[in-house]
Symmetry: C2
Subunit: 292 residues, 2 copies
């Protein structure tokens, strides 16, 4: 069984990115610059944003954090987004979700210039990705394809079962895996809360992508001997024995599933670190104007 | 076995549209107006465009055909597209494909204002559809959902096998059927040229969407007793006994498959007429400014 070590892979890719940043700088190009808008004081959001900023630093990107109180009006926030759209020094930016309830997240996404949308949430990028055109692919699905690619797991002709159909993971990864790009050409089945026989379908999978956000949902009796299992779940589960009072739990019962797999991602240390590094890859693309 | 009569359904929907046009006119609103750009003299394209124009007339829409020689330059064609974008009398328009080889179809699609893109080919509309936002859905997948809806074929919890992953049929219909809209919530498997065991997978389908453009590909031994079969194929196959010298052939061997099905679309007279009527539905939406 191969442990798909997202942490190690992310470190390797960060090293590659930092080398490329130095080359860009040596050639007189500008340093890639990622900006982040953070509204309010959500604990999870603070952690994620902190990791992203730190990763920027590690690879030599410039990064800017714009923080606003959760009382900011929608129109003021949209004005801030437009400022970033028009700021030539910012190559790409993200708005950290969730937003306060009085702000419509779709309006925010639609206001981001697709050319700076390094989270790949704008319909223009989702559509370009679905049509097989160059696009910013959102970070988690991009991270999954990088794991498959770097660990030489071929997808062509394989049966991939994607459990979950969210806009930021299940939907895009199912499109990518069944598309014609490098980590594509798989036969893909999309399962979700309305699927009746998930166990039966999962058992036919060569590759399982578990992305429904239900801790421990995928059990050993759902996995074929020799399957590859990618666990996208990262639910915080209360655990008094943990220093923080909680632990990250994946959607896969790792302890019982791992021994049946040919390869599996752990949680934490699997898809998570690859998500952050994918954001860096998109920012690098933005700095190099590789989309459109 | 229920024959899913696309011709009859299309006629019903056209009647509904024409009633709505009269209501709009009575309320002082403008008459919906569809424009079509046709480049060159391709026989198939002339037929399709003719049908679309005729259907506009039937429902009381205004329609405009702009024809250009196949020697038109790409930049001149893009200028014509921009003129339609800026013409307030045109609610929606389409550019009939295929285009001559010296014109990049993606450039043309990207130049169309997504708000007038009633073919639903622009990445913005594809992305909006994938994200579950209001969008122009391209005509063939929209027509398929209308057939399922009007014939009360529930998709929730069903296993739909989509054979084909083209940008205009397989990809969008697989997204719609697995999404959360009315004709959605199905478990969807996308098969294509790289799928190894299509027969085995098709046999598990409650609903088969055959959209690979290979005449007679789906045979009786691939279809479960009681399945619903939607045949999207429309290949012109030479046939000396036919008046035109060719016949339209579907992707399904109708003669042997029909008796096993609970419902099936014929070719011609199934999905084809519903595709034209879906374009009318999109144009009506455009006239009513229902998207965005």
């Amino acid at each position: 069984m191969v442990l798909l070590d997202g942490k190690k892979l992310a470190d390797e890719i960060k090293l590659e990115i930092s080398r490329e940043v130095k080359q860009l700088q040596a050639a007189g190009a500008k340093t890639p610059h990622l900006a982040t808008i953070l509204v309010g004081n959500d604990g999870g959001s603070l952690t994620y944003v902190g990791k992203k900023m730190e990763s920027c630093k590690e690879v030599g990107f410039n990064s800017t954090l714009l923080r606003f109180e959760d009382t900011i009006t929608e129109s003021d926030l949209l004005a801030e987004v437009k400022k970033l759209n028009n700021n030539p020094d910012i190559d790409g930016f993200i708005v950290q979700f969730p937003l306060p309830k009085h702000i419509n997240p779709n309006k925010v996404i639609m206001t981001i210039d697709p050319k700076k949308d390094v989270d790949g949430f704008h319909p223009m990028n989702v559509g370009r990705m679905a049509l097989g055109l160059p696009a910013y692919v959102s970070a988690t699905p991009l991270g999954i394809t990088k794991i498959l690619e770097r660990y030489n797991i071929t997808t062509e002709g394989k049966h991939c079962v994607v459990i979950g159909r969210s806009n930021i993971v299940g939907r895009p990864i199912s499109i990518l895996l069944s598309g014609q790009a490098k980590t594509g050409n798989a036969t893909v089945t999309v399962c979700h809360s309305k699927t009746k026989n998930i166990k039966e379908i999962a058992l036919t999978a060569d590759i399982i992508i578990a992305a429904m956000g239900r801790p421990g949902f995928v059990t050993a009796d759902m996995v074929k001997e020799g399957a590859v299992v990618i666990d996208v779940g990262t639910t915080r589960v209360t655990d008094a024995s943990a220093k923080k009072g909680w632990r990250l739990k994946g959607d896969v019962k790792y302890d019982e599933v791992a021994s049946k797999c040919s390869a599996i991602t752990p949680v934490p240390g699997g898809v998570g670190p690859m998500t952050v590094v994918s954001l860096l890859l998109n920012t690098l693309k933005a700095a190099k104007n590789e989309i459109e």
